[in-house]
């Protein structure tokens, strides 16, 4: 049963990946839609970022002084100025660890 559902989930996932790439061509999208699609990264990724920072494992909102909020702010500042992915991730993690292991410990 689990195997069958994994295969169906896999097929569904593949279809989400394939549908637009294989079945759409440029002429089918108008200029207005193409202009809106420019915003896709900005319109999609915050839906991954925000819940991962502001909602805890139990599905409720974190406190305003949650270490993840602080880590995210550091990562945003470092990322903005350094334009470096590794620096962004490392400084975000280190500042998060600093709070949970040193300050809040």
């Amino acid at each position: 049963m689990s195997w069958l559902s994994i295969i169906i989930a896999g097929i569904l996932t593949y279809f989400t990946r394939m549908t637009m790439i294989a079945l759409i061509n440029r002429d089918m999208l108008g200029d207005r839609i193409k202009a809106v699609l420019e915003y896709v990264p900005s319109a999609v990724f915050p839906a991954i970022i925000f819940p991962a920072i502001f909602i805890n494992d139990y599905g409720s909102f974190v406190e305003i002084n949650d270490p993840k909020i602080f880590g995210a702010i550091v990562a945003i500042i470092v990322g903005y100025f350094s334009k470096n992915i590794i620096a962004t991730i490392i400084t975000g993690l280190i500042s998060y660890w600093f709070l949970i292991f040193v300050i809040f410990n």
Binding site: M20, P51, G79, N84, G92, L93
Partner: protein, 228 residues
């Protein structure tokens, strides 16, 4: 004009920094699957059949929490429906490929690969074999994801839970969008998406992950209309 090999390598290089967060996350995903009591082969098969990060964990957590297969499958489909948006963006650059190549390349599209390749495509529209960049990002992700989930399954969670490495995932995506904070229209779209995702977090089947981008894109279209 870059060769296919150069483009492939560029894709690999562009996505590799993200592996810093993808690899620990993959290890955690593999380990959780086994901890929840699922057959290790089944847990690993998901990395090949679904190949979809968080959706794999959600699937197993739902099943182990007593949800029906229908709910679990639907949730995976909805979580991954954001790929429809990625595909719509990428289609412009891949339209010259044969249908078979499009079918093959689709399997390798992942969040970070989409965003890095899309950035590269925008700057290099005239390159002839652009899709090799996407294959480069996708294959790098695929190999790392297989190794990471497999080691999590075999070795268990050898990444200490106290480190909270799941937090590396939002950091990776912050690194992707952070430069767009320079543009006020993008900032509005991002905040709309982020707030909507919190507002709709409890919507069924994890649908906040597609509801909030749709709201944010609607706001983007309003912004475009005002700009004119």
């Amino acid at each position: 004009m870059l060769s296919k090999k150069q483009l492939f390598t560029k894709g690999m290089l562009d996505i590799s920094p993200h592996m810093l967060s993808v690899i620990p996350f993959g290890i955690i995903c593999g380990a959780i699957g086994v901890e929840l009591g699922f057959n290790p082969y089944l847990v690993y098969a998901m990395s090949i059949i679904i190949f979809g990060g968080a959706s794999q964990i959600v699937f197993l957590q739902l099943l182990s929490g007593g949800a029906s297969s229908l709910v679990a499958v639907t949730s995976v489909g909805i979580i991954n429906s954001r790929h429809l948006l990625y595909g719509a963006v990428l289609s412009e650059y891949l339209e010259k490929l044969s249908f078979i190549k499009k079918l093959l390349i689709s399997y390798f599209v992942v969040d970070q690969g989409f965003s890095e390749s899309n950035k590269f495509f925008k700057k290099n529209k005239t390159e002839q074999h652009l899709h090799y960049h996407l294959i480069g990002t996708g294959c790098t992700m695929w190999v790392c994801w297989q190794i990471a989930t497999l080691s999590g399954i075999i070795l268990g969670s050898f990444v200490p839970e106290e480190l909270g490495l799941k937090f590396a995932i939002p950091l990776t995506f912050i690194a992707i969008v952070v430069q767009d904070l320079k543009k006020i229209d993008h900032v509005i779209v991002m905040i709309t998406c982020g707030l909507s995702s919190l507002l709709f977090f409890d919507a069924p089947f994890k649908s906040y992950i597609i509801i909030s981008p749709i709201i944010a894109l609607f706001v983007a279209s309003l912004i475009l209309r005002l700009k004119k």
